[in-house]
């Protein structure tokens, strides 16, 4: 995915905060997923369409992460979310 690709959460998810982490379920599939650490902040940003570059900028600023490492981690995280059907790209 390119840094400008915009992504957003899919609609049919229910999420619940669990002691700082997030547990989510897909209503359609009845499967559960967990997100912890920096990922919970990225998940917040994914409430509205947002690009990889924007997520990386926010995360790197808030968590004092090196830009190259931040981009690598967030790209991997978003690709995983897309692969699991939790996030979709927007045109």
């Amino acid at each position: 995915m390119s840094p400008e690709t915009r992504v957003v959460r899919v609609p049919d998810l229910i999420a619940s905060e669990m002691d700082g982490d997030l547990v989510m379920m897909s209503i359609e599939r009845g499967e559960y997923y967990g997100i912890s650490g920096v990922g919970t902040r990225a998940w917040e940003l994914l409430e509205h369409p947002v690009s990889l570059a924007e997520i990386v900028a926010t995360i790197c600023q808030e968590f004092e992460v090196d830009a190259a490492i931040g981009e690598q981690d967030m790209r991997k995280f978003l690709e995983e979310l897309i692969h699991r059907g939790l996030v979709q790209t927007v045109a």
């Binding site: 229910i14 905060e17 669990m18 700082g20 547990v23 559960y32 912890s36």
Partner: protein, 305 residues
């Protein structure tokens, strides 16, 4: 007996008007009104689940507002909208057997319909709050409950423990169910106790003076599991790891899917997980000291008030 002269019964904060005698349940507090929250009726239940429900098993249907269960050679049950249970007994079945499934699975489904998180375990009063012990069948929950009773603690609920949106455990009724081997171990004579069903080595042990009859905030949940290891071990559970043990120890968790409640259930678990200390208790499979287990849990409670 007419509906008006029958005495109401009381459990989980609900006034219950039942055509089946429920002697193990208390009567409602005197100040309340006479209008029942739940009606239990004896009568015909269709031989199939209701329209709009999905079939979860050969004898089990569940929908958003209705729940249908058939226990072969016992009865069919239809639970409606959190306020009515219809019981259709099979010929010749005894009342004790009806009560086991009525107060178990059928009531569990009714409490789900009323929007409660229903845990499989027991709740004990500690100070002005509640401690809940959960664990799979055979993990030692009722043995532990009996041990807490012997130490002078009060019990709120056994087997079915509903927790409301304010994270309060609701009191059930004053009895625990004990297997013969637990009773023997606790030196409780079962000769005068009523079997929960004819022919079953499990007994209703009435809790006369040690029943906590008000809802109490849940502060601690202990998950009991047996492992082949030498010592009792307590491990706090944090973060997202809190979810699965609470889900797995939900009473009749398989009902939720057909009832369309998995999403609500996740939220309820989140609300509870935010307020409690959750600890996994691993104990040796055999020969562990019950008193040592009670002491370990009480020490953890004292260290985490």
């Amino acid at each position: 007996m007419s509906e008006h002269s029958r005495e109401l019964r009381y459990a989980y904060g609900l006034r219950i008007d039942s055509e089946l005698d429920l002697p193990e349940l208390q009567q409602p507090p005197p100040a309340g009104n006479d209008e029942p929250d739940v009606r239990i009726r004896l009568g015909a239940v269709p031989s199939e689940g209701p329209a709009g429900a999905s079939q979860l098993g050969p004898y089990l249907w569940a929908g958003p507002r209705q729940f249908w269960l058939h226990i072969p050679e016992v009865a069919r049950f239809l639970v409606n909208d959190g306020c009515e249970i219809r019981v259709d007994p099979e010929p010749g079945i005894d009342d004790d057997s009806l009560r086991v499934f009525l107060l178990g699975s059928a009531f569990g489904a009714l409490l789900f319909q009323r929007g409660l998180l229903v845990l499989h375990g027991n709740a004990i009063q500690v100070g002005d709050r509640a401690m809940i012990c959960v664990g799979h069948s055979g993990a030692g929950k009722s043995t532990l409950a009996a041990a807490f009773l012997r130490r002078g603690y009060n019990i709120l609920a056994d087997d079915v423990v509903p927790v409301d949106a304010q994270c309060r455990a609701l009191p059930g009724f004053p009895r625990i169910k004990l297997w013969q081997d637990t009773a023997s171990r606790m030196q409780i004579d079962t000769a005068g106790l009523r079997r929960i069903r004819p022919g079953m080595e499990k007994f209703n042990f009435p809790v006369v003076t040690q029943f906590a009859d008000c809802a109490l905030p849940v502060r601690w949940i202990y998950i009991l599991s047996g492992e082949n290891q030498p010592d009792i071990q307590l491990d706090p559970v944090a973060g997202m790891d809190r979810f699965l043990p609470l889900r797995d120890n939900t009473y009749r968790v398989s009902f939720l899917k057909g009832m369309g409640l998995n999403g609500k259930h996740l939220r309820l678990i989140g609300q509870v997980a935010a307020r409690i200390r959750l600890v996994r208790v691993t104990r040796p499979d055999h020969g562990f000291e019950l008193d040592a287990l009670v002491d370990s849990i009480l020490a953890d409670i004292a260290a985490n008030p």
